[in-house]
Symmetry: C2
Subunit: 413 residues, 2 copies
């Protein structure tokens, strides 16, 4: 794997960034040759270096550089990871820009020698997860993300692409190492004993009960199989609220390095999962019951709305397909499968975020251990309900109703 | 597409074959430099030249050369087809030889300049379809084909292959043009009006009723989607009884040029479809009711047995997989999905062989028009029953029972 590392690859440092950006003609409209350049490394992900870079004389002249490391940063060089994923990310961003430019960061260039993407610095946006933890509502989020998913997923599927183009895209986006992370961390490790499951001790009884539930593990295996075999559309592949930069008017989806051809339901489920994780965390995040109820209503309304928008924005694609070959009843079958599978995928993402590696800040960040355990317990119960009952959901409202009917099991009685 | 044609490519003729085989060192154990060589072109397929080649002095010194043409032979050069499919076939044969050598022809070499495979001349075998039309029983067929499918499908799936190896195999076996033939001829054209549906006029009322059945078209679209998206295992891709060379003791599977990563059920369904097409044809093929019943019992017993063997030979694979990640209940779910989808795939293959291009000799070869219409009508009724009821089949016996309960609609009452 490392035999293919570009000979020109060198990880940038805040010190070396200046020379690098001044050397790139693609940035000549932003930085001039004599500019004094400042940079700070801000990557809070696990796989990459991320630099915010600006001209000292004018901080508005700024870019972000994202450079792939050849290993998983959280674990160190014991877990190698091919930096070619930066090529996948750059190509996925290109496709996102084609179908949903308003929700995609501007990319200045991709440097294949450095496995580096230079892109727009989103100075007006924050990471959505941070806003959600603070209880900030984003009134356009559901509309934006529903559209983003319908356009990027629908237009990369067999419904739109020519038979040959689609199959060549499947090959171009073969992404084994990043898929393997998901296969392990989302679909395998949370459901068994391993020392890579750093859930907090207080919820251990519920985790052990969940891991002992064979029926649940059968359903998880079925979702894993779909993840590994269903080459339906080009997924973002990691569409959680940490991959979304947001403010009150704009929603920008970043970081598609996990992109590959997989089941649409995996992206849809990721968004639903993260809204429901926030929902579970807000069981305890506010002492004021009205405020709590209000924010949670916003979250569940967002889930309903994003699905409605997804369906609405998918409709033009259905209007183009051949009604003999893909009759009306098939459309219903297809969309229903996405909904039901999204419930299953959301469940796996939620369980993983509570039990497994890379837990979610919304819940793991709750300081009071009882509160944290209540939120974690509720999240697990919602997840189990969604995956075990997914075949009964005919509408998004039924999915949300099933989720909101759940209660935490903690404290144990 | 033709820009990539090898500059050394030239279609062989019976006259040029001698020089070609004498020039290949891989055949030096078979042919000597001074040998007088004879060859006859025997391709009755639509896509290739096939030469039987032998030394005049000793006809037992013999090989078969299969050379891809850059167009569909049946249609001519108006339907171009990349000869790279010969590479796919050679690589698939290599994998078949690894997992089921006793059912795979010996390959001497693949010539990438000529898109040509040199392989064993199976002089002791006949094409299975021809034997079945004559009512010849092959007592080991079910055992052989069940094992062949279990070994070749199971061992190329995620159940066995490493995550990376599997995904690289998916890319290596991307086979757009050949898949497109199946997408069109099996899953699209039979269910609509097109002048490429040369069914015989007498069964037109039943064909029109079938094409007008939207519920059926929804199910066909669902099977087509699986064919196009479910990258589960390396399929043979065209596993009909014309791709099987057989005698009373041996079963050899040839012609995997349609190989790609698809749903296992497509191969399983292809075999079932061809046994059921034979079953339908033997409704009228013998005047003697006992002989007829006896052969049809052999056919339905074969279907039951090949599935039992498939399950039995798959078991060692299940015994190797991790019981936490893939619990016992998942195995049942997985095998049941193959069975039910095989019913749906078999149905599409049957309908295509009655209605569409490349009809099946078993039925189209029946001279008496009433007899032919009865067999065709029965085949269509079996197909509709299988695809519409597939979710109810829990066992192979239930599938066979549903098929054998069908009757021809012709003559119209």
């Amino acid at each position: 794997m490392f035999g293919n590392l570009s000979p020109h690859y060198r990880p940038l440092t805040p010190q070396s960034v200046g020379d690098y950006v001044r050397s790139r003609s693609e940035l000549s409209a932003i930085f001039q040759p004599g500019d004094d350049i400042q940079a700070v490394e801000v990557g809070d992900g696990n796989l990459n270096l991320v630099f915010k870079v600006w001209a000292t004389a004018d901080p508005k002249r700024t870019v972000v550089l994202k450079q792939a490391l050849p290993y998983v940063r959280l674990v160190g060089d014991s877990w190698p990871l091919p930096p070619d994923r930066a090529r996948i990310e750059a190509q996925a961003l290109e496709i996102h820009a084609r179908f949903a430019p308003q929700h995609t960061p501007k990319v200045y260039f991709y440097d294949p020698d450095m496995y580096l993407i230079a892109m727009q610095n989103l100075t007006e946006h924050i990471i959505m997860r941070k806003g959600m933890i603070q209880g900030i509502k984003y009134p356009h989020f559901a509309e934006h993300i529903g559209l983003f998913m319908a356009r990027t997923l629908g237009n990369t599927s067999d419904l739109v692409l020519d038979y040959r183009a689609k199959k060549l895209e499947v090959a171009r986006f073969i992404n084994p190492e990043l898929c393997k992370i998901t296969e392990d961390l989302v679909f395998t490790e949370p459901y068994r004993y391993t020392d890579r499951n750093p859930f907090h001790k207080e919820i251990e009884p519920q985790v052990l009960a969940l891991q002992a539930d064979e029926m649940l593990r059968v359903e998880v295996a079925a979702m894993k199989e779909k993840f590994m075999t269903q080459a339906q559309a080009l997924l973002h592949g990691d569409l959680h609220t940490g991959s979304i930069m947001i403010n009150q008017s704009e929603t920008i989806v970043i970081d598609p390095e996990f992109a590959f051809y997989g089941p649409m339901a995996f992206d849809v489920g990721a968004v639903i999962a993260n809204l429901l994780l926030s929902y579970a965390s807000h069981e305890v995040r506010s002492a004021d019951p009205d405020k709590r109820a209000d924010f949670r209503k916003y979250l569940t309304d967002s889930i309903i709305q994003l699905w409605q928008v997804f369906e609405r924005e998918f409709q033009p694609i259905w209007n183009q397909v051949d009604p003999i070959n893909m009759p009306k009843g098939y459309q219903q079958h297809y969309m229903l499968n996405i909904l039901q599978d999204a419930a299953g995928m959301a469940a796996c993402k939620m369980m993983r975020r509570v039990i497994g590696l890379a837990g979610v800040e919304d819940i793991r960040g709750i300081e009071n251990v009882d509160d944290r355990s209540i939120a974690a317990s509720l999240a697990l119960n919602i997840a189990q309900t969604l995956i075990m009952n997914r075949h009964f959901f005919i509408t998004i409202e039924e999915l949300v109703e099933a989720a909101t009917a759940c209660r935490p099991t903690y404290p144990w009685r």
